[in-house]
């Protein structure tokens, strides 16, 4: 079974095919790695699957329903959430509010008067403690370090309690102890039988974490399969891993 699939997907930026007739599937309950050289279309693919950008051709299939369009607001309803390669937080808000803002019941009428209850706060506390940011809860996020910002964005995705998580280079620029936190979070999602998609350049991380790997090159699918097979593939080595 696979919740998310892309079929014959094409995305053109100023005449350049960033994603080129791509067909892939993301398997449920797996950690899937997406690798490929810079500019090979990894982020563009995730942007399409999460409705951030429209696409020209092909279709996205979410939960067996074929879609010619994916809207950002809908992805929450599909059980999808994501982080961004360049971290995107609510900059004018505190660390705690960045988490609380996603922890709501979202009823039509209560939306106006609902207040955060104790259980929301303790949920946010647990999530923030998981990424060592609880002491910073009242700080404006503008004051966080690069790594802390990255962790907060991942924490916000966790707070969404989704089924499918897309992480665009969650380890990039993190110190080892922070990497450890992110690795634990991803394993934790795996234990809960969630689906994780990970764009990552570090091959050792991919080898260690992923059940499957998708290799992209110039917008096309170069290879896919188990890490141990894919990373041995001669074409993958030639295109990406170098000698």
């Amino acid at each position: 079974m696979s919740q998310v699939r892309a079929k014959d997907l094409t995305k053109i930026f100023n005449g350049i095919k960033a994603v080129d007739d791509l067909t892939i599937e993301i398997r449920d309950g797996n950690i899937t790695g997406i690798i490929g050289p810079n500019g090979s279309g990894k982020t563009t693919l995730v942007n399409i699957l999460t409705g951030v950008i429209p696409f020209e051709k092909g279709s996205v299939i979410v939960s067996e329903t074929k879609r010619e369009k994916v809207k950002p607001f809908n992805i929450h309803a599909y059980g999808i959430t994501r982080t961004f390669q360049a971290v995107r937080l609510f900059e004018q808000m505190s660390v705690l509010d960045n988490i609380l803002v996603v922890l709501t019941e979202r009823n039509v009428f209560s939306a106006l008067f609902e207040r955060h209850k104790i259980h929301h706060i303790s949920e946010a506390e647990a999530i923030l403690k998981g990424v060592n940011l609880w002491e910073k809860k009242d700080d404006n996020v503008e004051r966080l370090s690069y790594g802390q910002r990255k962790l907060l964005e991942i924490a916000r995705a966790i707070a969404m309690k989704s089924e499918i998580y897309f992480f665009d280079e969650p380890f990039a620029g993190l110190f080892p102890e922070m990497r450890k936190i992110v690795i634990d979070i991803i394993y934790d999602l795996k234990i809960q039988d969630k689906t994780v998609v990970l764009i990552e350049h570090d091959i050792e991380l991919i080898r260690g974490l992923c059940d499957r790997v998708i290799v992209m090159n110039a917008g096309t699918l170069l290879a896919e399969g188990k890490p141990e097979d894919v990373l041995k593939d001669k074409r993958v080595i030639a295109a990406y891993l170098g000698d």
Partner: protein, 288 residues
Amino acid sequence: MDIFIQLTLNGLIAGSIYALVALGFNLSYGTMRFFDLGYSALIAVGGYTVFFLSRQIGLPLPISILIGTIMAGIAGYIIYLLVYVPLRKRKASNMALLVASLGIFTVIQAVIGIFFSSQFRTLSGPVDAERIFHVFGGSITRIQVIILGTSIVVMFALAIIFRFTTFGKSIRAIGDSEEVSKIVGINTSRIIGYVLFIGSAIAGLVGILVGFDTGITPTMGFSLLLKGVVASIIGGVGNVYGGVVGALFLGLIENYGIWHISTEWKDAIAFGLLILFLYFRPQGIFRK
């Protein structure tokens, strides 16, 4: 000395009107991020609804005022649904939205003009204006006391909503980034709809209050909107409390400014102040 106190009182009353306008306008600007000129027409919608209901039909004042406020809110919400939602779906530029809002302003004030003529009208009977209180040697009419009280109540209510409800957090999140808000599951069009209803209702209330204090014309909202925007810029755009302080500051300066000169200079003083701020402190009083 008495003159000084009178000018201070006048300044605070003008300032609290500007503060309400700035609050309502900031709600809309803070979520939709464009200069909504249509907002000014809703001020007149409030004023004329009360004029119609209480002066022409003869409904009791409190009911007329309540309906007038809600009418402006509904009008703002309908405009959002019919004009801004489709335009924003098509990713219309801010310039396109601004022009659309100018169109809305023109249509609404023309329609009001057709039904009620563009003649200056007042909502209050002679009795209301005469009820005068004396404060520290200055005088203030009953309606002016109501203006001050209403502004304070609205400001506190909004401050509480902003601070303590998830709604307030969602508004701030949308102001920060609408796209990320969507991705984290905030129903942005619903929240913006609520925001515009509230902001438009505040506009209506302004029109009603001003209508009792000085009077109404179909285009009355335009200069009020400009003052509200000047107040926002002085206070720091996007900063809700900044807008309020900027508004009081503007009201006071305007009134102190005309101490020895004719009242016609008020607008010149207001926009002179704006130019000074844009030149020397474009981020406003409160922005870092």
